[in-house]
């Protein structure tokens, strides 16, 4: 089958692209739309490096076809900061050294942001289980959990 034409919203912007129906949303984001902040770690939904939101719900973009994004609103790491203003999670991840190599960081940030939108005051266990699908091989997760807790606190205090 030839390529299909798809219209969607990515980080608030209207986008159009052509893709082979076998291409995943991850392939489309990275190779068609040049949004390489979303990473591929496994291609099978086991690592979470490709985490994005579809209509504000978390998904692994490797487990969704590009054509399925038709008419949907996709959120990626590139849309997380507002202009020059970093999201508190982004700020806290740097401050807490919550990343070492940084390859899992975009997926974890997108997932953590989604958590805090649903639960502004998660406890440690809730954060750990929410992020269980985001593998990090460098940090042992300790500093990631602390950064999420600290960002949540700052966001609660600001609101």
């Amino acid at each position: 089958m030839s390529n299909m034409h798809v219209t969607a919203k990515v980080n608030g912007d209207e986008v159009e692209f052509l893709c082979d129906p076998r291409e995943t949303l991850l392939d489309v984001l990275r190779d068609r739309l040049n949004l390489t902040g979303t990473k591929e770690g496994c291609g099978t939904g086991d690592c979470g490096a490709c985490t994005v939101t579809i209509d504000d719900r978390l998904v692994c973009s490797c487990l969704m076809l590009g054509v399925e994004a038709s008419g949907k609103s996709v959120g990626t790491i590139e849309g997380m900061a507002e202009g020059d203003t970093l999201h508190p999670l982004q700020k806290k991840f740097v401050e807490h050294a919550a990343l070492q190599c940084g390859i899992c960081t975009p997926g974890i940030l997108v997932a953590a942001k989604n958590l805090l939108e649903k639960n502004p005051d998660p406890n440690e266990e809730e954060i750990r289980y929410w992020l269980a699908g985001n593998l990090c091989r460098c940090t042992g997760y300790d500093k990631i959990i602390r950064a999420v807790q600290d960002a949540a606190k700052e966001m609660r205090e600001a609101s």
């Binding site: 790491i77 050294a97 390859i103 985001n134 593998l135 042992g140």
Partner: protein, 748 residues
């Protein structure tokens, strides 16, 4: 600077500023291996053997070649012949010759106009195999009647009469072993096994290679060491190293696994065959697990003699390790050097075997060899402490290596920090927590010798007085921040005024990779040397201006100050002023330092873990975890803690769940993150850390490498904790629920 001159009075060292590459890495802007694209680029895919051992009878690419979009194919026939030694093995691992040696061994590769087209083309290649018998277990491979992985591969170290899969042999030690054991009140000997584990970096190997008919090439790649990639690819393809320029991307984890090449040279070979078009090669996760280098699996006999009070009198170890189908890959020697490093031993002996099997070519993984050795030795020490009813920390304090101890592998230790880690662990509140039913506590120590190595670095002063540092060791865990801190401290300028760039192979002399826990030690030391060179030049510029002797100038707080008889004669000349005027005061100011460093200070660590084991299912839960390790000097304490915590997490995974599982057919059963089970966030507690600082006397700030030691103690610490909780001693990792439950049932 000698150790007694070390000062704790630092302005920048020991602070925790934001890492310079932090913003790029939290916004998705940082470019990793697979994020690079070149104009007119093709995409590669690799056909891999489904067999553990087979002869290749025929490879037919005709159907694949007819596919639209398929542009180039390579097999071994496209590579030069006549290579020897490690070069030959690198080439043979890149692509199989007449035989495939493991499940996942590359057989052919294709470049096509899209990744999908390349994948389609691979499926159309027909390969005819003649199956050969295979062996994947180290003990099986050592048997005289085992299938022979490689004829004539034994090196000169192997005593006559040993089976052909034993390709290297070693023994070393000192003292009278027999006398030592006969002096002991209690001698215990056991056999321990560990399974192969993978580094499990989240970023699969990725590169874009471009190579023209003129032999000039480019490669963009995620690697721990761009010069290693250059040298290895050049050897495998018969190129001149200087004609290949290798640019490192940001790197998504390595842990030793990205210090060598696996399939990278295929992208260059395909590029050469497709008229020099750039070719992108990105591994899938399954390819990473099947065809890159996990660590060795090990089978180990350990024997220790002790007095009733816990004093050790003698120890011996026999280690058998397989590192895949390629000689020299099992870290047997390093494992043995680490095995008894924690202990003062009047008599000790080590014997080691490097064994071939039909598995992928092993690569370095965080303190290669040390975790297996620690598992065997620290488990046995714990077993003996239990039998003799002795406190395991006290026994380690009694026997622990310290300055002046003749090490188990020969040399006399200089200043080291093992005792300090044990003392610090002893007084940590975690040890006060009372344990409940089915809970247990385990302790173990570990060692890594660390490495210096080939290092080349440049720094340059900008016109505004800020500084650019060009380094050759990729930043895998925040090392840019450490470098910037050391430069700030040395020059006395703000952290923000230093930019650290990791550069390509054309910009510096040869650098070894970020490996051996060497980056902060060696690149940091070279950075300080380069800064000192620049300070000398800046003082000379001030001296010229002031008309005084450069020797009569002190550099501090980022400025030249007249000293001695001239003190106070001139206002300080700041680095900003010097930078602004350097064009007309003698030209650009830059400084270079290149050397091979020895004498990296070794690092010891002690871990304490509390676990709870479900007696009905055998499932282990980590309740508390403490890492204590000697960092020499923590330049950026957050990233030191991060290394401790990350090492512990990897060790926990290796201890409890991670393993390469081969079927009867010699195929890897768990080539994915679903069944190669690395720890997830909900598996772990917070990981407490204590940074011990016993400064190394061979680094200007006292730095010891910290990256590797932390993966060794978790394996035995967890086995010891499980034994404490259940009464069951598991001597074969991973300590999975089926194994624990079986032990509980059999022994109850």
């Amino acid at each position: 600077m000698a150790k007694d001159e070390l000062s704790n009075n630092f302005k920048y060292i020991g602070t925790r500023p934001n890492r310079p590459d932090g913003l790029d890495k939290v916004t998705g802007r940082a470019k990793y291996g697979a994020d690079f694209n070149a104009p007119n680029m093709l995409h590669a895919a690799v056909l891999r053997s489904p067999h553990a051992h087979a002869r290749i009878i025929k490879i037919d690419t005709s159907k694949a070649e007819a596919l639209a979009g398929a542009k180039a194919f390579v097999t071994r026939a496209d590579f030069p012949t006549g290579l020897e030694g490690e070069d030959f093995y690198l080439q043979e691992n890149t692509i199989a010759g007449d035989r495939v040696l493991y499940d996942g061994h590359a057989v052919a590769a294709v470049a096509a106009t899209s990744a999908l087209a390349a994948k389609d083309a691979i499926k159309l290649i027909e390969v005819e195999y003649e199956l050969l018998p295979h062996v994947t277990d180290v003990d099986e491979a050592m048997k005289p009647d085992a299938p022979v992985v490689r004829e004539g591969a034994q090196d000169h170290s192997v005593p006559e009469g040993l089976p052909p899969n034993i390709v290297s042999y070693m023994d070393f030690g000192h003292g009278d072993l027999k006398a030592g054991f006969s002096e002991a009140d209690f001698v215990m000997e056991n056999t321990y096994k560990t399974e192969a584990a993978h580094q499990g970096y989240i970023e699969p190997h990725a590169c874009v290679g471009q190579l023209g008919q003129d032999g000039k090439g480019e490669m963009w790649i995620c690697t721990q060491g761009q010069w290693f990639i250059r040298k290895m690819c050049a050897s495998v393809l018969g190129l001149e190293a200087s004609q290949l320029r290798v640019t490192p991307s940001e790197i998504g984890g390595g842990f030793g696994g990205k210090t060598t090449i696996f399939s990278e040279a295929l992208s260059l070979a395909l590029s050469r065959k497709s008229g020099g078009r750039p070719v992108k090669l990105v591994m899938t996760r399954s390819e990473v697990l099947r065809a890159t280098g996990p660590t060795a699996s090990a089978s180990m006999d350990v024997k220790i003699g002790m007095k009733k009070n816990g004093k050790m009198t003698a120890a011996s170890a026999v280690f058998r390790m397989q590192g895949g189908a390629f000689p020299g890959m099992a870290p047997t020697g390093m494992a043995l050097e680490c095995a008894f490093a924690n202990y003062q031993l009047p008599a000790v002996h080590h014997t080691g075997y490097d064994v071939l099997s039909n598995r992928p070519k092993s690569a370095a993984y965080r303190a290669p060899g040390s975790p297996m050795a620690a598992f065997a030795v620290e488990s046995l020490v714990d077993e003996m402490c239990r039998k003799l009813n002795l406190n395991p920390i006290e026994v380690r304090l009694l026997n622990g290596s310290r300055e002046g101890t003749k090490s188990s592998f020969g040399p006399t230790f200089r200043k080291i920090g093992l005792i300090e880690t044990l003392e610090a662990a002893k007084s940590h509140p975690n040890l006060e927590v009372e344990l409940g039913p089915n809970q247990g506590r385990g302790i173990a120590s570990g060692y890594w010798m660390n490495h210096g190595g080939e290092t080349s670095i440049s720094m340059a002063l900008g016109e505004d007085g800020t500084v650019t540092l060009s380094i050759g060791t990729p930043d895998i865990g925040g090392s840019r921040a450490s470098m910037a801190l050391m430069v700030s401290e040395t020059l006395g300028i703000p952290y923000e005024d230093v930019r650290v760039n990791v550069v390509e192979t054309g910009s510096l002399g040869v650098n070894e990779p970020t490996h051996g826990s060497r980056a902060t030690f060696a690149t940091g030391k070279a950075a300080v040397e380069a800064c000192n060179g620049a300070i000398k030049e800046m003082c000379r510029r001030a001296a010229d201006k002031w008309g005084i002797d450069p020797e009569a100038i002190d550099w501090f707080d980022g400025a030249a100050h007249p000293s001695g008889p001239n003190a106070g004669d001139f206002p300080p000349m700041t680095i900003k002023e010097i930078g602004r005027r350097m064009g007309r005061t003698g030209g650009p100011i830059s400084s270079h330092h290149a050397t091979t460093y020895g004498g990296a200070g070794e690092s010891f660590g002690t871990h304490v873990v509390d676990v709870e084991v479900d007696p009905q299912t055998g499932k282990t839960t980590i309740l508390r975890y403490l890492v204590v390790q000697d960092a020499g000097r923590a330049i950026h304490p957050s990233y030191v803690e991060g290394q401790f915590q990350g090492g512990a997490a990897q060790g926990i995974g290796w201890a409890l769940n991670e393993e390469y599982i081969y079927g009867e057919d010699g195929r890897l059963q768990n080539a994915g993150f679903l069944d190669y089970r690395v720890p997830v966030a909900s598996d772990l507690p917070m990981i407490d850390t204590i940074i011990v600082e016993v400064p190394s006397d061979n680094h200007p700030f006292g730095v010891r490498g910290v990256g590797e030691t932390g993966i060794a103690p978790p394996l035995p610490a967890i086995a010891n904790a499980v034994a404490d909780a259940t009464g069951q001693r598991l001597r074969h990792l991973p300590i999975s629920p089926p194994k624990i439950l079986k032990a509980i049932k059999e022994n109850s």
